[in-house]
Symmetry: C2
Subunit: 121 residues, 2 copies
DNA sequence: CGGCATCCTCGAAGATACTG
DNA sequence: CAGTATCTTCGAGGATGCCG
C-alpha cells in the first residue's frame, strides 16, 4: 500500500492527502461548486457553464467524481440521450472544505495585494 | 489575467482554487503538517523526516511555500550552512483547511471500506 | 549542509475526429 | 446529446552530479 509511508510519518494528519486527491483536477472544483450551487445539471448544461472545458475532460472529471461517490450520474434512455449529474449526499459533506478554502482564498488575495504594494514602495 | 474566466462563472466561490493551488504539490501537505506539528526544522531534518523526497523537490516545494509567505526561511551564515524553516503566522491560517480536510479524509476512508464490503457481498 | 544545474520520464490535460 | 478513441503537448516530478 502506498499509504504506509505517509501513515508512518503522521498517523493523525495524513488523511489530508485523501481529501486533497479528490479535489485535485483542473476542473473538479468548478464542477462541484456549480453542482452545489445550481443543483442537478445536464452534461450539456455543465459544458456550456464551464468555458474552455473539452467534452473529454468534462466526461473524465465527472467519471472520477462519480467513482468516489461525490456525484451521481443518471441516464435517461431517451433519444437524444439525457444525462443528469448531481451532488450526492455524501458529496455535499465536502462543502465545509470548499467553504473554508474559499474564505482563505479571499484573505490570501488581500494578502498578496498588500505584499505587492510593499514591494513597490 | 487567467482568473477572468473563473471569476465570470462563480464570483463568490472561485477563490477555492487559490487555496488549492497552495496546497497542491506532491510534498507540500506533509511539509506543512510537519512544520506545524514540530515547529522550526532544518533542511536536513525535513529531508530525513520525509522518506522518498529528493533534495531538489524539498528545495522546490519549500521555495514555493516561501514565495506565498506560508513558511519562513532563515539562513545562518555559518560553516557548514544552517538553514531553518518554520510556519509563518500567516501560514498557520491554513490550519483550519488542513484540519477540515483531515477530518473529511478519515470519514472518506470509512466510506470507501463500506463500499468495498458491499461490492463483495 | 544545503543547495543548484542538467537531463529524463510519464501522466494530466488538450485537440480533433468519429458515433450510438 | 453525450459521449468514445487517438494522437499530441507540456510540465511536475525524479535521478544524478557538482559546488561554496
Amino acid at each position: 500500500m502506498e499509504q504506509e509511508i505517509k501513515l508512518d510519518i503522521e498517523p493523525l494528519l495524513c488523511r489530508v492527502e485523501d481529501a486533497l486527491s479528490i479535489l485535485v483536477g483542473k476542473w473538479k472544483p468548478i464542477i462541484l461548486l456549480y453542482l452545489i450551487k445550481n443543483g442537478t445539471q445536464r452534461f450539456s448544461e455543465l459544458k456550456r457553464s464551464i468555458p474552455g472545458i473539452t467534452q473529454k475532460m468534462l466526461t473524465n472529471q465527472l467519471r472520477e467524481l462519480e467513482e468516489e461517490d461525490i456525484i451521481q450520474r443518471v441516464v435517461y434512455p431517451v433519444v437524444p440521450p439525457r444525462v443528469e449529474y448531481s451532488i450526492t449526499e455524501y458529496g455535499s459533506s465536502l462543502q465545509p472544505i470548499l467553504d473554508t478554502m474559499h474564505q482563505w482564498g479571499e484573505k490570501h488575495l488581500l494578502h498578496k495585494r498588500q505584499k505587492f504594494k510593499q514591494n513597490n514602495e
